[in-house]
């Protein structure tokens, strides 16, 4: 196995491309991390090979999580050209704006990245023998059903339950796909971007009924600091060079 040691990301990246061919939609290295995107129909097969093949030997799955890309790049204040016209005083949240009869301030920044989309599942794998990590991402697509990897890594069991609970992503072949973190009888998938931060229901003890009851929330979500995108990272890059003083 001496010849198969994968000790840097470029080697690993090219090995992965070699092995899986056109199953790999993209693979790139950014910030010393290798990200490989595969279609969700291939995920189980790719995971199995990454686990079993001594070339890769990813015996541990470190993390699995869902990401909702539906609001990617959305801002509450547009900053370009604001110097002339000034900023608005407040930010109206999406749910609130209808009552004011004004269009929401939420504007979609021209997605220069083209990343905006639906739900994605991200896997972080670790190979202890090669001391290397890889990040697998699925391409988002509806319906939200993909193969479970519990048969490859037992640890995926709870992570997939979590992703199902928080994002509503279904995992086919999961032995026990129940909610994990939210309340018993919870409705909705709270980590999706369209789920309000204050939720839909609140609970209290009702003295008359002598039990805990659920009611629609009485608070309104509000934005304390608007979300803005600024491109002035030029100062930060100077520091990169100074770096380790």
């Amino acid at each position: 196995m001496a010849n198969t040691i994968v000790n840097n990301l470029e080697v690993l990246g090219s090995r992965v491309r070699e092995k899986f061919g056109d199953k790999i939609i993209s693979s790139d290295i950014a910030l010393d991390e290798l990200t490989v995107v595969v279609d969700k129909k291939d995920i189980l097969e790719v995971c199995k090979t990454l686990h079993d093949d001594p070339d890769f030997d990813f015996k541990t799955m470190i993390d699995l999580c869902g990401v909702d890309y539906s609001a990617y790049g959305d801002v509450e204040w547009t900053t370009d050209g604001a110097t002339g016209s000034g900023f608005s005083r407040g930010v109206s949240t999406a749910g609130h704006s209808d009552t004011e009869g004004q269009p929401s301030n939420t504007t979609s920044a021209t997605t220069t990245t083209g990343k905006k989309g639906g739900l994605v599942v991200v896997y972080h794998l670790l190979s202890i023998t090669h001391n290397i990590r890889i990040r697998l991402k699925t391409l988002s697509a509806d319906p939200l059903i993909l193969d479970s990897v519990v048969s490859v890594w037992a640890v995926a069991n709870w992570y997939e339950r979590e992703a199902f609970d928080l994002f509503g992503i279904m995992f086919e072949g999961h032995p026990d796909l129940r909610r994990l973190l939210t309340d018993y009888g919870f409705i909705g998938h709270p980590f999706r971007k369209d789920f309000p931060i204050s939720g839909h229901v609140e609970m209290r003890y009702d003295a008359d009924k002598k039990r805990v009851i659920y009611e629609p929330v009485s608070i309104e979500p509000r934005t304390l600091v608007p979300r803005v995108i600024r491109d002035d990272h030029r100062y930060l890059n100077e520091h990169k060079k100074e770096g380790n003083r």
Partner: protein, 417 residues
Amino acid sequence: MAEIQNFTLNFGPQHPSAHGVLRLILEMDGEVIERADPHIGLLHRGTEKLAETKPYNQSIGYMDRLDYVSMMVNEHGYVLALEKLLGVTPPIRAQYIRVMFDEITRILNHLMWLGAHALDIGAMTVFLYGFREREDLLDIYEATSGARMHATYYRPGGVYRDLPDEMPKYQASKWHSEKEVAKLNENRQGSLLDFIEDFTRRFPTYVDEYETLLTENRIWKHRTVGIGVVTPERALQLGFTGPMLRGSGFEWDLRKKQPYEVYDKMDFDIPVGKTGDSYDRYLVRIEEMRQSTRIITQCIGWLRDNSGPVMLDDRKLTPPPRESMKGDMESLIHHFKLFTEGYSVPEGEAYVAVEHPKGEFGTYVISDGANKPYRLKIRAPGFPHLAACDEMTRGHMLADVVAIIGTMDVVFGEIDR
């Protein structure tokens, strides 16, 4: 009369050895566990979603509240991920301070774990001993950051302020006479570093004390040897990291294998278990406390000899000093912008792992270039450990469930997030 053999038992969430808010549904055959189904989420606060609605710096305080017995290491993971995205490296002095506090935190965590674990199994004294030492360590936290637990001390670009030159002292009151206070203040005469150094000299003998109480203790061995055995293959399958993985025989420690900050300059050993049972994990953690003391000593030596900034001098990321704000317009603007809007992080994604006292603490941040994270995922080490509860307790007795929960070192702040 027919004998009832199988039944379902509800354990927790208000059971003292449920370590917070764990609810376990146990299916039992007599006193033997056939299936354990942990119900978690009773402490779920949606930290990750909450972080999406706040500027980056405002979430540092939430990190303390994840694993609330190893506060600063949580901050470390988050701050490192931001620094990776921002492309900055903190000054070297800040790195040493961080490493020193990481190790202080590791001792804090292991003391809490040891005390609670021993208390669950029936040894009361260790808990009291552990809290005696934790008091000193929490005083160190307080002297540095102003808070005894939720420090919010690490920032992207360094740490919030330099170590104090003076260790705060006890004052006489109607409960403590001048004489008593003078005795309490004996080791607080010098700087904070003097106090920590004094602690590192005392601490190994304290660890010996814990060991005389437990290591050869017959009851302790009966309750831990051969309990919750995890083979190396299963440990990897179950996603174990940290002492849980090392207890099963893997020499795997991110401080050595994927070093961050100045861990590559530190001299320390990784303890490794043999059998993968609760007793081995106990020995591993005890040895880690000794090794942490070694690292702290090395950091103290360096910090004494070298001074320098502890925060980057970058006004787009770190606030200006208060004095300059009084006279300098630009500093005032920078201060205003940083504390209202915050800084924008370049678009990208980063996963950073640190060796948390409980295992690998990972922070996965996705930024779309805004002043708030687009998505933050916390990879809590306790999460996969607790998920293995079912497998580890199967076939054991009810009393061993408590020992197994204890050996996993679970804290619900991080598991439920």
